[in-house]
């Protein structure tokens, strides 16, 4: 099975560069604006789009992404509408991979089988579910693999060599290395330490390793890109979006460009990186 994610990493390998992965929240601050934002991201240089599924209780997220989720929920976002957003995006873009990222409860309530069928049909390529460690693989990971979706696992600084094989066993698409112990938007990652960690993970897998948490600037993105197969930026983009909203939290004429401009600068940072040593 080759997914859009596999195809994208194969293409980047031919181009000899690292991936720029963007995270935005579905429905932030409303569904229509969010569609325009995600349509603008590939043009700004995003190679992969992570789309947050809003949840009331995001226990691994910092204040920025918590607030983004609450703005989306206030704007009437649901999991069903998140899948509609992906379907609308796919009308014009059949190659940029979309990874849904969030928490398990809304999927569990939607119904795992129905969700996987609807997500696949909408054009979703992968899932990152923060509160499903390998110990709970039977819940969603195994069914997702059977449905043809990549299940992308988080590896963290606390995932030691003994545990890594279990974490990687059912992972596909890429491995998401969480560069710091903490919540999204927290401390910056030291690129040297991250490089060593990526090297450690690569001893256990042939999958691409993308790094996220704590990357906010083009310089930081470049430093990470030199040591990994991709850099993920989320909180900085979400903050840029928030900064463009009016006093009532509604989108303005600047909202889409605010996100796209930052994405563009970050993409240039990533593209300026020397190719990571194989």
């Amino acid at each position: 099975m080759t997914t859009r994610i596999d195809a994208r990493f194969a293409e980047l390998k031919r181009q000899g560069r690292s991936a720029f992965v963007t995270f935005v929240m579905a429905g932030d601050p409303d569904a229509k604006t969010a569609l325009e934002v995600i349509k603008a991201l590939p043009k700004a240089g995003a190679d992969i789009i992570e789309l947050g599924m809003p949840f009331t209780d995001p226990m691994a997220d910092g204040p920025s992404i918590q607030a983004a989720g609450l703005r989306a929920l206030k704007g009437g976002m649901t999991l069903k509408k998140t899948l509609e957003l992906v379907r609308d995006f796919r009308k014009d873009d059949d190659s940029t991979p979309i990874v849904l990222m969030g928490y398990y409860n809304p999927i569990y309530i939607y119904g795992v089988d129905a969700f996987l069928a609807d997500a696949k049909a909408a054009g979703v390529d992968g899932l990152i579910i923060v509160d499903l460690p390998p110990e709970e693989d039977t819940e969603l990971c195994i069914p997702a693999m059977k449905a043809g979706l990549n299940f992308i696992r988080l590896a963290t600084p606390t995932t030691d060599d003994k545990r890594l094989p279990a974490v990687l066993a059912n992972t596909s698409g890429f491995v998401y290395y969480v560069a710091v112990t903490g919540i999204t938007g927290a401390a910056a990652a030291d690129s040297k330490v991250v490089g060593a960690a990526v090297g450690r993970i690569k001893q256990h897998t042939k999958l691409p390793v993308c790094v996220g948490f704590g990357i906010r600037t083009p310089e930081a993105a470049r430093a990470i890109a030199e040591n990994a197969d991709g850099s993920v930026v989320g909180t900085a983009l979400v903050d840029a979006l928030k900064g463009s909203l009016d006093a009532e939290g509604r989108a303005t004429a600047r909202t889409v460009t605010a996100v796209a401009d930052l994405a563009s600068a970050l993409a240039q940072g990533v593209r300026g990186a020397k190719q990571a040593a194989e």
Partner: protein, 405 residues
């Protein structure tokens, strides 16, 4: 008989932390290695006689156990039915059952070499117990408490600070217990290397629901022995209030395999079950939050709804997974009491027995007016008086004063 009923109701959870479909370990990868370490450390402690001996020493001389089983003569006469006994957990050091669990967890944390303790708290009883034992053992203590609860439970906030703990008012969400738990989890995921999360109830990822239950089972084990001494037999029924459900689980668990004992849990019905409430079993359905699968209050999209109860300690949209399982298996009957019923019971017990109960415990007292009169005078009913009401006196005083005007 339901053919799926187990041979024993006391054998759970399985090795993956499941009670039927409930429980589990739904946490971020960052926490998973630590949770596995904790499971191992707790299993070792449990098998170590010196751990139990040390804990028993502190339970006796520091906590003041055993807590009395007291025959509530005037309450019994007033209700005119079952003979009512109160299990006096409110007489423990720190004023509630919470200390039983905190003592156990702090001793496990010490075995694991953790120097920093974090906790979430609703009414502040768990926070006070944690701050107390951190003071006793010289550990750093940070307590997360919803900003709304900081307001309505001021006496406990002052107590925690006096004991040297840092109280962090949580501003996210509804600013109550659920949000305090979210922020405690965020702290834990950030400071995982040196921090032990002391969860206050029988919820969260495995092994917490089992571990907290084990530490609280001292309540039921003592009750069994004390009732034997007082009446020469087992009680006929047990009643306890439930938020997450730790005081209830502690009383119930030792009796789950005694079929003659009827067991009643009382959830908080807030303004009523058709309005804002905190009764997850009566008004919720199974979902996944805070590390476990259990009954939760949520909307059609799986978004968690805000609970409401007059009592900060019951103001939580979930319940411990073992309770969810006992509910579905039918072994325990779950009832609910409204804010108004709890307020009336708070006053009733104060006037009849000279005991001011916590608003949480008042929910259990409230159901006695339905349960006790229907039962014969030789029916032995035990109610867990899980906490004392000093912390609620300002809040209840304001409510009653407002009504007189």
């Amino acid at each position: 008989m339901n053919p799926n009923l187990p041979n024993s109701f006391r054998s759970g959870p399985d090795e993956r932390g499941h009670f039927g479909i409930f429980g589990g370990r739904f946490v971020a990868e960052t926490l998973m290695p630590l949770i596995l370490d904790l499971e191992k450390a707790y299993a070792e402690a449990k098998a170590d006689p010196s751990f139990q001996a040390e804990m028993n020493g502190y339970l006796k001389d520091y906590v003041g156990r055993p807590s009395p089983l007291y025959f509530a003569e005037r309450l019994t006469a007033h209700l005119g039915g079952a003979k009512i006994y109160l299990k006096r957990e409110e007489l423990n050091h720190t004023g509630s059952h919470k200390v039983n669990n905190v003592l156990g967890q702090i001793m496990v944390a010490r075995r694991m070499g953790k120097k920093r303790i974090i906790a979430e708290t609703g009414a502040g009883q768990h926070g006070v117990a944690t701050a107390t034992l951190c003071a006793r053992f010289g550990l750093e203590c940070v307590v997360y408490m919803g900003a709304v609860d900081v307001e309505r439970q001021q006496p406990n906030v002052i107590r925690m600070e006096m004991l040297g703990a840092k109280v962090v008012p949580v501003q996210s969400g509804a600013r109550t217990l659920k949000d305090a738990m979210n922020d405690a989890l965020r702290d834990w995921v950030t400071n995982v290397h040196n921090t032990f999360y002391c969860i206050g109830t029988v919820a969260g990822p495995h092994p917490y629901p089992m571990m907290v239950r084990d530490f609280q089972s001292v309540i039921g084990n003592e009750t069994r022995q004390q009732m034997q001494e007082a009446e020469g037999r087992l009680p006929d029924s047990l009643v306890a209030c439930i938020g997450g459900g730790s005081n209830a689980m502690g009383l119930f668990h030792p009796f789950l395999d005694d079929p003659s004992v009827e067991i009643f849990g009382v959830e908080a019905a807030g303004h009523g079950l058709t309005q804002l409430h905190a009764a997850s079993l009566a008004g919720g359905r199974p979902g996944v939050l805070h590390g476990n699968r259990t009954y939760l209050l949520m909307d059609a999209d799986g978004q968690i709804e805000e609970a409401h109860s007059i009592s900060a300690g019951l103001d939580y949209p979930g319940i411990g997974p073992e309770h969810a399982w006992l509910h579905e298996s039918g072994r325990v009957k779950y009832l609910s009491a409204t804010d108004e019923e709890a307020l009336a019971a708070f006053q009733l017990l104060s006037r009849l027995e000279g005991i001011i109960p916590a608003l949480e415990s008042a929910h259990a007292i409230a159901k006695l007016s339905e349960l006790a009169p229907q039962r014969p005078k030789d029916h032995l009913m035990v109610v867990n008086l899980s906490g004392r009401g000093d912390k609620d006196v300002p809040q209840v005083g304001d409510i009653l004063k407002g009504r007189k005007k």
